[in-house]
């Protein structure tokens, strides 16, 4: 079976006569066999987008194309797009076998073929010995397998997963993530994966589209989106903890660059980034991003700025130190906290190459972190 391509063109969904815009004209293209994660905080419109793709909701505007053909006018049941729900939505009054067979039975497939397909899918999901179990007796990860199997058995052209792991406990989630990766490798499918969990997105997707307030703010290859987020919003969402973002203006003083933000001003290490200086010339509003891993602690008089240590959160291998720099909280990851104490004044330093610079108004990235990557 040919693996199709999915395209969303200016897709829009409004509620309450246009007062609420859930999805604000998104454009997206998912290549055949690719897994794309739609990542964003709760309420950003990602599930609404998914519901429109599958046909549960009608878009207010725009188009959804599978292999170039619009499916907007097609009812949900005819689109051959599978959706796995966050709460599994397994038919609890049925057995595992009946659940898996449901989609095939209503397509009037003969009994032998149904049984053959169901057994094959159960084998793939490692559920062969649980086929006769009542769905109401299954645990979380088993229910998840049934939900995925019930969709896969119908051989959908596209598979959509709506936060499929968020109802599972941590160990089951880890195991299921591996399971999903294995399935992706075994079955070539175009997959759209909706999640608010960046770890899931990073471990499962080829590309990540970050959504915020109904818009897609960046679509990028998974590895690159973390290294060099293209938008201040993406930077403020990805990472644990996310990037420190400071808004302000920069001015060149005697060849040195001074950043002036809310209640705080400091000299940047050097004008080693040409784009940064260009921006300073233009005098535009900027957002500076410092990844917590790149921000290190120094003596009180050293570094970019000084602040008071507010909190030290131990995470096992490392700790997150929150520093209050004149009302702005900056987070730094340090390996050893033996020399840091709450309440003491420390300096913060960052290497010039580790400063991410975004346009203060549009949020778009200004400086290029990796030369030649476009």
């Amino acid at each position: 079976m040919k693996v199709p391509k999915l395209e969303l063109v200016d897709l829009r969904k409004e509620y309450a006569g246009g007062d609420v815009v859930a999805v604000d004209g998104i454009n997206l293209s998912v290549d055949p066999g690719e897994t794309l994660a739609l990542l964003g905080p709760s309420g950003c419109g990602k599930s609404t987008a998914l519901n429109m793709i599958v046909g549960l909701e009608q878009p207010t505007g725009g188009d959804i194309r599978v292999d170039g053909a619009s499916v907007v006018a097609m009812p949900a049941g005819q689109r051959n797009i599978g959706l796995v729900f966050q709460d599994y939505a397994v038919f609890t009054s049925m057995t595992v076998r009946q659940n898996l067979a449901f989609g095939l039975k209503i397509r009037n497939m003969d009994r032998n073929s149904v049984n053959r397909e169901v057994e094959k899918t159960a084998e793939l999901l490692g559920m062969k010995d649980r086929l006769e179990a009542k769905a109401s007796t299954l645990g979380g990860s088993e229910l998840q397998r049934v939900a995925i199997g019930r969709t896969l058995v119908t051989k959908p052209s596209l598979l959509l997963l709506d936060e499929p792991l968020s109802n599972l406990e941590a160990p089951a989630r880890l195991a299921m993530r591996q399971e999903l990766r294995r399935l992706q490798q075994e079955i070539a499918l175009t997959v759209v994966y909706v999640t608010h969990d960046q770890v899931e997105a990073l471990s499962l997707a080829d590309h990540i589209a970050v959504m915020s307030y109904g818009k897609i703010i960046q679509v990028e290859k998974t590895a690159r989106i973390v290294e060099a987020p293209g938008h201040a919003g993406v930077a403020a969402f990805l990472g644990s903890p996310p990037m420190n973002i400071l808004r302000g203006r920069i001015n060149v003083e005697n060849g040195r660059v001074r950043f002036t933000g809310y209640n705080l001003t400091f000299l940047l290490p050097a004008c080693s980034i040409p784009d940064c200086c260009a921006a300073a010339q233009a005098g535009v509003m900027l957002s500076l991003g410092f990844r917590a891993e790149d921000l290190s602690l120094a003596g009180a008089g050293d570094g970019l700025a000084a602040g008071r240590v507010l909190d030290i959160e131990a995470r096992g291998m490392d700790s997150i130190v929150s520093v209050d720099v004149r009302g702005t909280i900056m987070k730094s990851i340090v390996l050893s906290t033996s020399s840091v104490h709450e309440g003491e004044t420390v300096g913060l330093t960052v290497a010039p190459d580790d400063i991410h610079i975004f346009d203060g108004w549009t949020g778009l990235r200004i400086n290029e972190r990796f030369h030649g990557n476009g």
Partner: protein, 318 residues
């Protein structure tokens, strides 16, 4: 039980064992029990005592003309055997009540479900209609019986409408089939709202995602209803049937007002027959035995109805 080698028999750090003696809160529990005592005493007096007296009475030949209950002679299970073997009027009343219950409950279920499904959609005047549909349930059975008695009169509105439609009117209370139908129509009008209300709340509690999942898998609205919604509604449907069947076995007021069990005994229900035994013929002991048989029968019926969903209803959630 075998223990792992690294675990000693008694762990060094353990939660302190509870001290022997009264458990904490035991005192307050006994005070609580004391507060419950008056209620328990009243319920013992008005519920359990009469039940025990009636049970004893059902094994005697007591009638009010024989003086005190202690004067009556003990007859063992004679009343019961008489009822079950020889009293055809009782057996017919039981059969008739069951047929009446079966027909009315099925009609009430179908109409209640239809209305409930209709009310899942959006339409104008829904809230007004909702109140209107629930009204019959709130009317006293005696009033319902009297109202329908007037409606079904030979010169009454029902026959008038039938004439307007070109049909000949019926002698509702003189023909046994029509009388039977009149009782069922009254009962269905009175109690369909209860089915409607229970099924509507059941439908509202059905989770949305399994329905959406079925739609995505290509199921038609009919298939979604049959394979997804109805199975999830099953416990609610059975509970509705249990509540109504317990009521319908006791069906009395409407029949009393409409037909008094007639013509002949063609609409005589068990309750009506027991009433006649006790208060027309003063055979109180015999009537008590009949009432106990009905009680046992009802318990069996409820148990039978609940068996398929018992596990689901008695699931431990906490």
């Amino acid at each position: 039980m075998s223990t792992a080698p690294y675990l000693s028999e008694k762990p060094e750090v353990a939660f302190p064992a509870p001290k022997p003696g009264k458990a904490p809160g035991a005192k307050s529990l006994s005070v609580g029990r004391l507060f419950m005592l008056p209620g328990q005493a009243v319920s013992l007096l008005v519920l359990v005592m009469p039940l025990l007296v009636a049970l004893y009475m059902s094994f005697t030949d007591w009638t009010p003309t024989r003086g005190s209950l202690t004067d009556a002679s003990f007859m063992g299970v004679e009343n019961y055997s008489e009822l079950l073997v020889w009293d055809t009027r009782f057996l017919e009343a039981v059969g008739r009540t069951l047929v009446m219950a079966g027909i009315s409950l099925c009609l009430e279920f179908v109409m209640g479900l239809g209305l409930a499904v209709l009310f899942m959609r959006r339409f104008r005047g829904k809230s007004l209609l909702f109140s209107a549909f629930l009204t019959p349930m709130m009317v006293l059975p005696v009033v319902v019986g009297y109202t329908f008695w007037m409606l079904f009169q030979t010169n009454g509105p029902v026959n008038h409408v039938l004439h307007l439609l070109g049909a000949s009117g019926a002698e509702w209370f003189k023909d046994s089939t029509f009388a039977f139908a009149a009782v069922i129509i009254t009962e269905v009008w009175h109690w369909t709202p209860l089915f409607f209300l229970i099924l509507l709340s059941g439908l509202n509690a059905v989770p949305e995602n399994p329905i959406r999942a079925a739609v995505i898998l290509g199921a038609s609205p009919g298939q979604v209803f049959r394979y997804v919604i109805l199975p999830m509604l099953r416990p609610v449907i059975i509970v509705a049937f249990v509540i109504r069947s317990m009521e319908v076995v006791k069906l009395f007021d409407e029949v009393f007002m409409l037909t008094r069990g007639g013509p002949g005994s063609s609409t005589e229900t068990i309750s009506l027959y027991i009433y006649k035994l006790a208060f027309n013929d003063f055979q109180l002991a015999y009537g008590a035995a009949a009432a106990f048989l009905v009680l046992i029968g009802s318990l069996g019926l409820v148990h039978l109805l609940l068996t398929p969903v018992k596990d689901q209803l008695l699931r431990d959630r906490y």
